[in-house]
């Protein structure tokens, strides 16, 4: 882990501070709960106008704590949180912010239309009702009770509630959980449209594909700290370089069923890590071709071989996993 952190620091600041205005920021925020758990440790994060930022991290990394602080639902132990230059609890700040949270149960005996009317009523200049229905894909289910909806439909209603006030800043906490492929693509298109309209979006997700295709910037956090931050391409290369190599450009992942023990694998030139998961062994190497030749020579019964370039998912695992 420490190697990863050093690497993260060694990478030059990928974003020469642009002149675009900061919409929301966490400045050296620490959050300690009364039971002693430190959810965020000295974390700084700035969202600029018109960008889509994805917050990635394993469970318990501090993602939702960060979102709760930005929404003013919780206050930091130290550091400052600001939204549009004001405290997040400021009424005017909330007027320009929309939130989609993972809600277990919304009042079930209200119709979709009624839920939307209630939230539109909070804002002086809400988004037009027909537009909201269109954007969230709720045509035809407006008169249903919330309790009658499928999981995906519920998510879309919550998305509509987040956009009810036509906000400039939108927090989306795991927005596409439970959606089928078609609705997920539909929501992605809407999120892209938000960014095109100069809105700022902070998205937490565990679908790496989602962060990869939507976000201009990915912030990976683990144990309350930022592990790395950059464009999806930068995060990917950083992740594949993580286990201690100098460059991440030529790293490949080899998966195969083999009887060769790990300590032997680690001695093959180019191999940086080897892990066994059930039948399959996963090997990270900088010299894929020579490693493969060596593997085949060492184990004649080797089978099910598969070679891949690292994906964001691997980067993510490499960055947040433990490397003792």
């Amino acid at each position: 882990m420490s190697a990863v952190l050093e690497l993260a620091k060694a990478i030059p600041e990928p974003f020469p501070i642009p002149s675009v205005e900061a919409v929301a920021s966490l400045d050296r925020v620490t959050k300690r709960f009364p039971n002693g758990v430190i959810a965020l440790a000295d974390l700084s994060l700035t969202l600029r106008r018109g960008e889509v930022v994805a917050l990635l991290g394993p469970n318990g990394a501090g993602k939702s704590t960060a979102v709760k602080l930005l929404m003013g639902l919780s206050s930091p132990t130290s550091g400052t949180v600001s939204i549009f230059g004001a405290d997040p609890r400021n009424h005017a700040a909330r007027m320009r912010t929309g939130v989609m949270l993972q809600v277990g149960k919304a009042p079930e005996m209200l119709r979709v239309r009624e839920h939307i009317e209630v939230f539109r009523g909070y804002y002086p200049n809400p988004m037009a009702y027909a537009d909201l229905i269109q954007v969230a894909g709720l045509m035809g289910i407006e008169s249903r009770f919330f309790g009658q909806l499928s999981g995906g439909q519920k998510q879309r209603v919550l998305f509509a509630l987040a956009l009810a006030g036509d906000p400039d800043l939108v927090f989306l906490d795991e927005p596409t959980v439970g959606l089928d492929v078609k609705s997920r693509r539909g929501m992605w298109a809407q999120i892209e449209l938000l960014a095109a309209r100069d809105k700022t979006v902070l998205l937490t997700t565990h679908y790496l594909e989602e962060a990869d295709s939507l976000a201009q910037r990915i912030v990976v956090i683990d144990k309350g700290r930022i592990v790395c931050e950059g464009t999806p391409a930068e995060v990917k290369s950083l992740g594949s370089a993580a286990p201690g190599t100098e460059t991440g450009t030529s790293v490949k992942i080899i998966r195969c069923a083999t009887t060769i023990p790990t300590h032997v694998l680690l001695n093959i030139p180019g191999v940086t890590s080897a892990t066994v998961n059930g039948e399959l062994t996963t090997i990270l190497t900088r010299q894929a071709e020579s490693t493969m030749r060596e593997l085949l020579a060492l184990d004649l019964s080797l089978h099910s071989m598969d070679v891949q370039s690292p994906k964001l998912e691997d980067a993510f695992l490499a960055l947040t996993g433990d490397h003792e």
């Binding site: 900061a22 230059g85 700040a93």
Partner: protein, 266 residues
């Protein structure tokens, strides 16, 4: 680095909040009315109890100059409104808290008071509905003669009397996890109603329970309701108001502790 600033037209916050509050209250009431598990039991229990114990068992009976059906109407009206307040607020708020729905509401620009007042008003509406239904049953089935002034006093007492129990619901919802809220509230509601003399008139209870009743908010509200008919048995009107006030403050204090605990953990 420049920072976006806030620029909103200044509107009188009260004028802006009023329609929000009215909409919130209307939908809260509609929602509870549609939630059959709530509306059937909260309205159904006092109706069935009054039908059995007030009307069928005591047909045309008098104790001295007092009509039993009318005497019992007062206590079952209180029983009904207390249930509406405890379950509407206690279970409703605990559910919103547990599901994260309250977080979403708090993160929105909704004035927090609108949420609490909407729940409160909805409990008052249910109280009025139950009291009116029982009064109607008494008049049509139990030969109860109820003057308009007496009915008006009942409604006024409902509006005021629901408040201490709304506060109790608030305190319970903050302390009790949602999964066990309905059970725990029943365990408080039913004994509290019995000990306050709402099921069986106080004079028929053992002496030690009559003494104990002074601690029950249901006793004080019950006596005030009987007073609205001119039947009060013990204590002065003022002492009952003080009793309810004290109970309300106690519940608000407990709710404040629960709220602080919640904020520390969020």
């Amino acid at each position: 680095m420049s920072t976006a600033t806030l620029d909103l037209p200044r509107i009188n916050p009260l004028m802006r909040s009023l329609p929000i509050f009215l909409r919130e209250a209307r939908y809260e009431f509609i929602r509870l009315l549609r939630t059959r598990s709530f509306s059937f039991s909260v309205v159904g229990f006092p109706v069935v109890f009054y039908l059995f114990f007030g009307i069928i068992m005591n047909r045309g009976q008098q104790i001295g100059a007092i009509s039993v059906a009318k005497y019992v109407l007062a206590s079952y009206a209180v029983f009904g409104m207390v249930g509406a307040a405890l379950f509407g607020i206690g279970v409703g708020l605990a559910a919103d808290l547990a599901a994260g729905w309250l977080d979403l509401k708090r993160a929105s620009p909704m004035p927090p008071l609108a949420y609490v007042l909407a729940k409160c008003c909805s409990a008052v509406f249910f109280g009025i509905l139950i009291v009116s239904l029982l009064a109607l049953m008494g008049i049509t089935l139990g030969n109860v003669s109820l003057s308009f002034a007496e009915y008006a006093r009942m409604i006024a007492l409902t509006v005021a009397g629901v408040i201490p129990f709304v506060c109790m619901g608030l305190a319970l919802s903050l302390l009790v996890p949602f999964s066990s809220a309905p059970g725990i509230i029943n365990m408080i509601y039913l004994p509290m109603s019995f000990c306050g003399g709402l099921w069986v008139p106080l004079m028929f209870l053992p002496h030690f329970m009559q003494t104990l009743a002074v601690l029950m908010p249901t006793y004080h509200l019950g006596q005030l309701m009987l007073g609205a008919f001119g039947y009060a048995s013990t204590g002065t009107t003022l002492s009952h108001w003080y009793g309810l006030l004290g109970f309300t403050l106690l519940m608000l204090g407990i709710a404040a502790i629960g709220l602080r605990r919640l904020e520390q953990n969020s």
